[in-house]
């Protein structure tokens, strides 16, 4: 790891000032992605800005939405009573991320900002049609993810919270890589009065994406049978040592049906 200066500011304004004033300064949340990246010398920050003292942690219900602070750990999301009752798919998803020790440190904001194509939460944010709040604006999920490891965040912009509409039904199913525990294919499905949204992670070359053919079929008939005949093209899917794009395309069908069966 290259050395860097370390700061733990006590206010959001101070953190934004450091991060915006220096293009080589980087935010640190749970460190469960960033520290491994630093060890591999894939990043050489001048200053690492620890976000843990900004008061960005916590879960609140506000009307028909749940607001989750960016620094809220995966373990808190997995065990929170309101999330379990209102968005069970999200609580279950959080419980499947990494392992106990990773869930004790990793955060919602860190996972979304990183936008790993195999990460879990991007599929929840996109399927729920949530919004990302930052120090300066609000970004809709449909605009937030912009391809593998790429988001709408500007240099120095800090996610402060995410706002997730409470669906009628939700579920997450994950076909995971047994070694890394990341998703080879992960499917989050959310049913609202206005229709169904379904997002796929782990599979797309451009990162998380919505499966509109399935959404349409499920909005008419929310049952696994409704999507049984839908074939997913392997054209824009990842191929790696873990799974070919054809296999991922097949898994999308299987795992989506499981997710719908679970939610229905």
């Amino acid at each position: 790891m290259y050395d860097f200066a370390y700061q733990k500011p006590g206010s959001l304004a101070d953190a934004v000032k450091v991060l915006s004033g220096d293009p080589d300064a980087k935010a640190l949340a749970g460190g469960q992605t960033f520290i491994p990246v630093l060890k591999q010398r894939l990043n050489k920050p001048s200053t690492v800005v620890d976000l843990s003292k900004l008061g960005l942690s916590g879960i609140t219900v506000s009307g028909d939405k749940i607001v989750i602070g960016a620094m809220t750990r995966h373990a808190e999301i997995a065990s929170n009573a309101d999330i379990k009752a209102k968005i069970p798919g999200l609580a279950h998803q959080a419980s499947l991320i990494g392992d106990e020790a990773v869930r004790h440190r990793g955060t919602m904001g860190g996972s979304l900002a990183n936008n790993d194509p195999a990460a879990c939460y991007p599929s929840a944010l996109l399927a729920l049609g949530g919004t990302v709040k930052t120090d300066r604006r609000t970004i809709a999920a449909d605009d937030f993810f912009q391809g593998m490891f790429t988001t709408a965040l500007e240099q120095g912009e800090i996610i402060t919270s995410v706002e997730l509409p409470v669906p009628q039904k939700s579920a997450y199913e994950k076909f995971r890589n047994p070694a890394s525990r990341y998703a080879i294919v992960g499917v989050f499905v959310a049913k609202f009065a206005s229709g169904v949204r379904l997002a796929i992670t782990g599979a797309g070359q451009g990162g998380v994406f919505r499966h509109t053919a399935m959404e349409k079929a499920l909005s008419a008939n929310f049952s696994p049978d409704a999507i049984g005949g839908i074939v997913t093209s392997s054209d824009d899917l990842n191929s790696d040592i873990h799974a070919s794009s054809e296999y991922r395309a097949h898994l999308i069908g299987v795992i989506s049906k499981r997710a719908v069966a679970k939610a229905a």
């Binding site: 050395d3 370390y6 460190g31 020790a101 990773v102």
Partner: protein
Amino acid sequence: MPRVTLTVNGKQHTVEVEGRTLLVEVLREKLALTGTHVGCDTSQCGACVVHIDGISVKSCTQLALQADGANILTIEGVAAADGTLHPMQEMFREHHALQCGFCTPGMVMTAIDLVESHPAGLSEKEIREGLEGNLCRCTGYHNIVKAIAAAHPLMHATAAE
């Protein structure tokens, strides 16, 4: 150089570190607490698990400065001052839950947190899931799972006293 103050196994230490210094490096290299192991250094194996303010964390994936002011418990602080083993350590011995012993400190630290955070009981499935972040190349996990199940009633009986 920045300084970090940690309370490790009940004793306060202030040491000089770099921004990039990992918590496990402070424990092993500055405080000579070499019971905490580094198995992979890539956040996978759990040999480095310690408790930070009571919660199991991989100390190789944690900057020392992030833990400033925290209470750290390592494997060296688990047994009683007179050397009496912690019930989890005793059950690891009883059930032959270690062979080479390299993974054992991390296993024990993960297991203690797991048992403490599930006072109502732990199923075998929950124990196995709780150990997902701890790799053992020797035992096949079977006896580790048995040891944790056996330690559960002992730890909660002690806590209730």
